[in-house]
């Protein structure tokens, strides 16, 4: 048993600044990680609504086999911006920027992230990039999907260059957040919190941060090259000038495959917090879950070309990429089995957060299984570019990431706001969302098997019945999300007071008031063990004054 480090005074942990008083410094250009996290959350939800409305444009167009709701070119613009916005403006910022920022420093017992000013700068790049992306509609939005393959992206309207610039900017924001989180987690944990005593959400952020840092920079290179080619005619991708369209695919997927783990690993972390709390049982396989996150992150860099099996990849390259992709199923399976075993024999409380967490496990597993179909070369040759692919990535991104975001939101909202969300509305939200979700995306599997191609505005009339089922279900899903926002707005005003620890959870953020003070902890605690050993006393010391009227820490000097 490791001896906890003794606390030596005078370091960062004893360095507290007075809380800024003006509205601008407090809520707009704030350097407080909690405020920045909530800013990310609000901005991300606004972009979720906008990109969700674009999704409804897509589904309304597909009600009829011959379309007719919007023009074919507008349809192409809509699905391109829908995909780009959902990936870069909704899921990634919510996973890392919102929950990472709000929860992670609290869970490691830090007063803030390592570079608070950089954190603020990262945040403000994000809404600017979002406005740039949506403004591309004004100048002819990109039409080649969120992947923007050349040569089509080279021929797109001016909005494609704006797309490059917007994604470049939000990518820099993501890179800087990744660096900030890496340094914070590696250097600023409370005394006694060794790596293997960190909560699993922090492990997930630690596995995600290097992906944001490394992969996103590679994407920045690809975007810069595409921008230069479009604006200045510098040939990288145009085959008529000696360039190679495949080069873009390599550069793009070298980022975008790790990016799918940026979008899912933090959700894995959230689920690993929520399941033990509501099963009232220690997490099963703590170290296996923690290390499998890291394994997934590392292996994620070696599988990008499985997106390119039909693009003319050399056959001797296909086999290793296929096998490596299969290998990723192993650490993912380790997680899923550990979660099921955590629930096994537990005293399960079916709160909204828990329902979303369990829904996550089921739907993500389904999406993972179809991933194996697509990773194997022979079936992928048949399924590539069909609705089967659309079904697959919506199961992992909506059934996985978005369900994870909802689970995390229901779980941490009391900590952020000090009030409880309505459980009744939460359960309506969950059941309508799950029903609408499966109605929308389950039929896509067999439509894809039968050969319905993705990214087309009109389709063969034989697919019309199931497309209508999907469109109607998607309205149900949208209605469920509307209930979610109603729930937030009502609960912010009328919700029950949460108190510091409504879920009787054991990680550090629940041992301090809700919402936490500006300085997080009156005294930085010392950690003696894992946070998941329910029935044992809490493994922290130095938290006695957090919930009483003891004075706040004295600010250090005026600077």
């Amino acid at each position: 048993m490791a001896v906890a480090a003794t606390h030596v005074g005078g370091g960062i942990a004893d360095h507290v600044h007075p809380e800024p008083q003006g509205f601008i410094r407090r809520y707009v250009f704030s350097i407080d990680h909690k405020i920045i996290g909530i800013q990310y959350l609000i901005t991300g939800f606004i972009f979720l609504v906008l990109a969700g409305l674009l999704a409804e444009v897509i589904r309304t167009q597909l009600m009829n086999a011959n379309g007719g709701f919007v023009s074919n070119n507008t349809y192409n613009e809509v699905y391109s911006i829908h995909g780009s916005a959902m990936v870069w403006l909704v899921v990634i910022p919510l996973m890392t920027g919102a929950f990472g920022n709000f929860v992670m420093p609290l869970q490691i017992g830090a007063r803030d992230v390592a570079f608070p000013w950089l954190n603020m700068v990262s945040f403000w790049m994000f809404p600017v990039a979002g406005l740039m992306l949506f403004s591309s509609f004004l100048m002819g939005a990109p039409v080649a999907g969120w992947t923007e393959y050349p040569p089509m992206s080279l021929q797109g309207e001016a909005g494609t260059s704006m797309w490059c610039a917007a994604i470049f900017l939000v990518g820099i924001s993501s890179t800087l957040t990744g660096m900030n989180f890496m340094v914070t987690i590696l250097k600023m944990r409370a005394p006694g919190m060794t790596l293997t005593r960190m909560p699993l959400f922090v492990w997930a952020q630690l596995a995600t941060a290097p992906l944001s840092m490394v992969a996103t920079t590679a994407l920045a290179g690809a975007l810069a090259a595409l921008f230069m080619e479009r604006q200045f005619g510098v040939p990288f991708f145009d085959p008529t000038k000696g360039g190679s369209p495949l080069l873009w695919q390599h550069m793009f997927w070298f980022y975008s495959h790790p990016a799918v783990y940026i979008m899912i690993l933090p959700a894995f972390g959230m689920i690993s917090e929520i399941l033990p709390t509501f099963a009232r049982k220690p997490i099963f396989g703590y170290k296996m879950i923690a290390f499998s996150s890291v394994t997934i992150a590392l292996a994620g860099f070696m599988v990008w070309a499985h997106h390119m099996f039909t693009s003319g990849l050399a056959p001797f390259m296909q086999l290793p990429f296929m096998l490596l992709t299969f290998v990723i199923a192993v650490p993912t399976g380790v997680k899923i089995f550990s979660w099921i075993t955590t629930l096994w024999g537990g005293k399960i409380h079916f709160t909204s957060a828990m329902l979303f967490a369990i829904g996550f496990v089921v739907l993500f597993a389904l999406g993972g299984i179809t991933g194996i179909f697509l990773a194997s070369v022979p079936t992928d040759l048949h399924l590539h570019g069909t609705y089967f692919v659309v079904a697959h990535f919506h199961y992992v991104l909506v059934g996985g990431s978005l369900m994870g975001i909802f689970a995390g939101f229901y779980y941490w909202f009391p900590k952020m706001s000090g009030r409880m969300l309505s459980e009744t509305l939460g359960k309506w939200h969950f059941w309508l969302f799950v029903a609408g979700f499966n109605g929308t995306f389950l039929p896509m599997h067999w439509l894809g098997f039968e050969g319905m191609p993705r990214r087309v505005a009109v389709y063969d009339p034989q697919f019309q019945f199931w497309n209508r089922v999907e469109s109607v279900s998607s309205y149900v899903m949208t209605f469920a999300i509307l209930l979610f926002f109603v729930n937030i707005l009502v609960s912010l005003r009328r919700g029950k007071k949460a108190g510091p620890n409504p879920w009787k959870a054991r990680t550090l953020e629940w041992q301090i008031p809700s919402p936490p003070h500006y300085y997080n902890f009156k005294h930085v605690p010392t950690v003696y063990g894992l946070p998941y050993d329910f029935s044992e006393p809490l493994p922290y010391r130095g938290l006695d004054d957090e919930l009483n009227d003891a004075p706040a820490p004295v600010p250090a000097g005026a600077h």
Partner: protein, 208 residues
């Protein structure tokens, strides 16, 4: 003026001769700065990958109609840049030992060598453009990869020259002390990073 005579910034954090707040923030900054350099390496790697990929996409290299690069000139220019890496090293070492005059001399030499390297690159670019008729956008994948990568590196050198000049002015104004000089450490790291990138670029463009 010796470094030791510079005023030490006394704060309330100092305990037993160790300023823990400074030590800890220095540790954070150093780690963060190394991560920044690492992600910059990835940015260069993306373009280096693009260059090698295009270069091996089937045609002969250099592509038909493109003259060979002048290896000898670039080699001398590289010596200038590597020399500036050495002077930067001595500048930091002299600061640590309190020799302000030697420090300033070596730092100014570094800045001058950096500017000389940029001059050499400018000469090379104009020569390629006017004599060999090779341009960024008009010479196929050769112009695209060569000018983008060396241009990115040149931009980093230019940023470095400004950075080192700011550091020189800051140190004259007493921002750094013999013990507390993280800015100088970061500047040195950045300058060596620019050097190392050039080793790779020189090898892949001029030697292979």
């Amino acid at each position: 003026m010796a470094v030791a005579s510079l005023p030490h910034q006394q704060t309330e954090h100092v305990e037993g001769g160790v300023d823990r707040f400074y030590e800890e923030t220095r540790d954070l900054r150093l780690t963060g700065f190394l991560f920044f350099l690492f992600s910059d390496v990835v940015l260069f790697s993306a373009f280096i990958f693009a260059y090698l990929y295009l270069r091996n996409s089937g045609q002969s290299w250099p592509p038909p109609g493109i003259a060979r690069l002048d290896v000898a000139f670039a080699a001398w220019n590289s010596v200038v840049l590597f020399g500036s890496g050495a002077t930067m090293h001595y500048a930091l070492e002299n600061w640590k030992h309190g020799n302000f005059n030697k420090y300033a001399g070596f730092l100014i030499a570094t800045i001058v060598l950096g500017i000389a390297f940029l001059g050499g690159q400018a000469y090379e670019y104009t020569h390629l453009y006017f004599v060999d008729k090779i341009s960024w956008a008009g010479s196929g994948i050769f112009g695209a990869s060569f000018f983008t990568l060396t241009g990115m590196h040149g931009f980093h050198v230019a940023v470095g020259v400004v950075y080192l000049t700011v550091l020189l002015l800051q140190s004259v104004h007493g921002v750094y002390t013999k013990e507390k000089h993280f800015g100088l450490t970061a500047g040195t790291l950045y300058w060596h990073f620019v050097d190392i990138i050039w080793v790779v670029l020189f090898s892949i463009f001029y030697l292979i």
